[in-house]
Amino acid sequence: MDVVTLSRWQFAITCMFHFIFVPLTLGLSVLTAYFETRWVQTNDETWLRMTKFWGKLFLINFALGVVTGITMEFQFGMNWAEYSRYVGDIFGAPLAIEATVAFFMESVFIGVWIFGWDRISRKAHALSIWLVAIGTNLSALWILLANGWMQNPVGYHLVTDAMGQIRAEMIDFGALLTNANGWIKFFHTVTSGYVVAAFFVMGISAWHLLRKSNVDFFKRSFKAAALFGLLSSIAVAGTGDLSAGDVSRNQPMKLAAMEAVWETRTGVDFYLLLIPDSAAERNSIEAIGIPKMVSFLAFHDPNSLIKGLKDVPRDLRPPVAPTFWSFRFMVAMGMYMLLVSAIGVWLSRKPNLEDYGLFLKVMLFSLPVPYLAGQLGWIVAEVGRQPWIVYGVLKTADGVSRSISTAQVVGSLLGFTLFYGSLGVLDVYLLTKFAKKGPDDDIGGFIKMKEGRG
């Protein structure tokens, strides 16, 4: 394999590994902040125990999200130096702003939250976890505006730089900030992160409810998470529709790969059962059709024109199979989550949620589903963008560093895989250990503050 292929694998592996932790951080920070706020409002100790229990799982996850995030920033320069030089003028800005505006906030206030139980008032303590939640969500906004620019480059022009090389320079910061692709991705990504957190809380609660341990505690957790999960799943579906619309308008070849459309046509039908065959440039199976549904979903017009993959030479098409299958399974999982979280809302309002053993088992085993859906979503977004690193402007193959050797990247790729693999094992071990242990009865120093401050 060459440096480009190896670097792409490395970027994919390190990004996807990072994105195991990010969505849970996005959602569980919000849920933990909500639990603590309820405690401050009601003085009910169950809310405090929920804050501590879910907060502990949040922290284990948060730690890995933080440390694996640094890799992302370094890698642009390490493996994608030509890309970084070419786009740094416009792409570097949101990254630097992300660090200044968001990373500081989340990293500073997470320290306040972990160590501040006995040192600041209850309200200030609850505020600090809200600032963590806002910081993580803001950081998602800036990185997705950066990614949005790679998907739909706006507000730039190409010029010759001081060393005589072509690069993209920013001419309109407002255009970068209002790039619809970035905002749609932001809402789609954070709400899908909320779904991850909701299913995480519901899954672990289900495990305890199946064993009838801490029933009230986990019923309350489940109930809050189910509603959060349902509302977020609806938002994910809505923003997913917006996202498909944006892709249809701006990235026709990605859309063609997502839906496996080979010929340019109007009123394209949707097939429930479809198997694409890239070599033959056709679909080997198309069955159970819904007339004009692809056109309708893409442009909300059943007669709209969908560009086919054959419109462009093979080397300008994204890989069809991974894009198509990832999209299909992501959408199917999204619908599944909408359904089970709706059932969850309904059952968690009954007094005896713990008696619905089958449903609780389903929820326990559904815990990984939103994780998978999120990863598949990123495969659609990033593989579907190929062969471009900046859509229509710069090819991925032209973005790679020139000074690195195959041996270096083989070494780092192996290093990351082994190292991240062991971190993953540790993470699962610790999360399982603390999730199974259940909430502590000892809620620590905060009790004595009931009379005093706060």
Partner: protein
């Protein structure tokens, strides 16, 4: 003032503040094995940095982000040329962060001993890697139109290693002084003693660094051509001496403050010496990366300047608040009885 110059200064400030803040965390890691005599001691040490280490590390991320946004060519070439060194740095940063968070999560002596080793080893590695990397940047990298002609091993030249030794000692003394103002009892006394013992080697290496910089690099040329700038290295030297005087008077807070000033002004000395380069070429100055040939456009720099001037003061304000909230010394009671402790 032109935007490139503003961003050059900001670039230097970001690195200096990062070294000052993460320097005591790294220093604490390096000396933890020498001064901690029990599990409780180790926990106290980790808890002295517990509330702040993560926020301190963000200065590095911001320095990296600022390099990307303001000087993209430098960011691109520096990170790809120093590929292997940066990979080691990344792994060390990741292991360090995970060690702090995970050490206390399992009540098992072997588990904790492994993380303790990881904390100490990554401390040494981080100080050494930053030192070697900056030493080589001060000296210049062998680069021309064809790219980079060095390897990871060629970074380990005498000047790079000397700068590595300087960073090791700077951070170790800095960490020891930090521990001396953040702990109590025997642990505190041992940290004070260690800071005192390491000061002489630090002075020797600092002098050697200055002399070698004159002989082997162009780092000091700017100071001789513009003598007013001499004030920067002079403050660095004065702070280093003041550190010892305060230690002798057992005024540990002031000694720690002097150590902060030493790190800030040694970094400023290096950065001022580089000007107008960000990375000089050791082959021919034509190929040096300067703030002019590697910067972003004035438009981008203007926007970044506005963002920095609004948000950096806010960040500094809440960081000061956090250091005030956690200004108390960490005691045995804190780690044994309080919730949240590592």
């Amino acid at each position: 003032m032109e935007f490139q110059l503003i961003w050059f200064i900001l670039w230097g400030v970001l690195w200096a503040v990062y070294f000052m803040l993460d320097g005591f965390v790294i220093g604490m890691q390096m000396i933890s094995g020498a001064i901690a005599k029990s599990d409780t001691d180790k926990r106290i040490l980790i808890n002295t940095v517990g509330p702040v280490w993560d926020g301190n590390e963000v200065w590095l991320i911001t320095a990296g982000g600022a390099t990307f946004a303001a000087f993209p060519r430098t960011y691109a070439l520096m990170f790809s040329y120093l590929y292997t060194a940066l990979l080691l740095l990344l792994f060390a940063l990741i292991i360090r962060g995970v060690s702090f968070e995970f050490r206390g999560k399992v009540d098992n002596a072997d588990w904790r001993a492994s993380w303790d080793k990881a904390i100490a080893v990554t401390g040494f590695l981080l100080a050494l890697l930053f030192g070697v990397a900056f030493g080589n940047i001060f000296k210049g990298l062998p680069m021309d139109a064809a790219g980079y002609h060095g390897t990871f091993l060629s970074l380990l030249n005498p000047y790079g290693l000397l700068t590595g030794a300087l960073f090791l000692l700077l951070f170790a003394v800095h960490g020891a002084l930090y521990v001396s103002v953040k702990t109590t009892g025997d642990l505190c006394t041992r940290a004070e003693a260690l800071a005192g013992k390491l000061w002489v080697p630090l002075l020797v290496v600092a002098v050697a660094f200055l002399v070698y910089s004159k002989i082997d690099t162009k780092l000091l040329d700017n100071f001789f051509s513009m003598p007013a700038l001499m004030v920067i290295p002079l403050i660095a030297v004065a702070s280093l001496v003041a550190m010892k005087i305060f230690m002798a008077k057992k005024d540990w807070y002031k000694a720690f403050a002097a150590s902060c000033a030493t790190i800030l002004f040694i970094t400023f000395t290096g950065v001022t010496g580089l000007f107008p380069n960000l990375i000089p070429s050791s082959l021919d100055p034509v190929w040096s990366l300067t703030i002019y040939n590697s910067s972003s456009s004035p438009y981008t720099l203007k926007i970044m300047t506005v963002v920095a001037f609004i948000f950096v003061p806010i960040v500094i304000a809440y960081k000061i608040w956090v250091y005030r909230v956690f200004r108390a010394r960490v005691t045995e009671d804190d780690v044994l009885k309080k919730s949240g402790a590592y």
